[in-house]
Symmetry: C2
Subunit: 102 residues, 2 copies
DNA sequence: CGGCTACCTTGCGATTTGCAAGCGTGAGTC
DNA sequence: GACTCACGCTTGCAAATCGCAAGGTAGCCG
């Protein structure tokens, strides 16, 4: 998996390097608004992300400190994903995007 | 140039279908904050977008009603791009992204 | 006209995507 | 323990997209 080089110091460009694609923010949306937090639940969202892309994006988001993975203590097969504080801070971005489209 | 199929009714997904890539919002940023409005100026921004990608993204943004192209009356070679109202409405999205990265 | 500039377009190799199938481990059942 | 399924990935491979470089067309400038 190629690591994105930082293209410029512009904060907007930095943000886009981290989640400037058609899938990353949908995962954050699911975590914030749709109560989805497992691999399977993300994969079953309406937009039908492919599982390899999903695994890649979850890895990147984790690497960027936006989400955290934890084993489910109740079921060792499950991995529960959760937003970090940095991830929660993306809520206004998603909110503005939703407002714009509406 | 493939037209994106609408993947779901979610307003966030709709937004991402239109500008969910690493370049589209940088063009909007240039128009909003950097006083850039011609092809050459966009191409010379720090992030160094390739010219074929730039032409493609400008076409998509125009198709989405986010930017408008006009011939420069003073110089027939130049094409001046400008944001539509719909394009200006993206300012809060970019602002939140910049705040998040900072 | 001749040279220059602005805006694209084309060719093409490299990367990324998307679909499907498969794998490994843990849970539940007997 | 053996058997079966569920979950979270990984792999293979064709197709689409990207990015670099080069070319092409039309307008300006002398």
């Amino acid at each position: 998996m190629a690591r994105e080089p930082r293209r410029s110091g512009c904060p907007i460009a930095i943000s886009l390097d981290l989640f400037g694609d058609r899938w990353s923010l949908l995962i954050v949306r699911d975590l914030l608004f749709a109560d989805r937090c497992t691999f399977k639940e993300f994969a079953e969202a309406d937009e039908r992300i492919a599982t390899n892309i999903l695994a890649d994006r979850l890895g990147r988001l984790e690497g960027a400190g936006i989400v955290e993975r934890r084993a489910d203590p109740a079921d060792g097969r499950k991995v529960v994903y959760a937003l970090t504080d940095k991830g929660f801070d993306l809520a206004p971005v998603l909110l503005e995007m939703a407002l714009w489209a509406a």
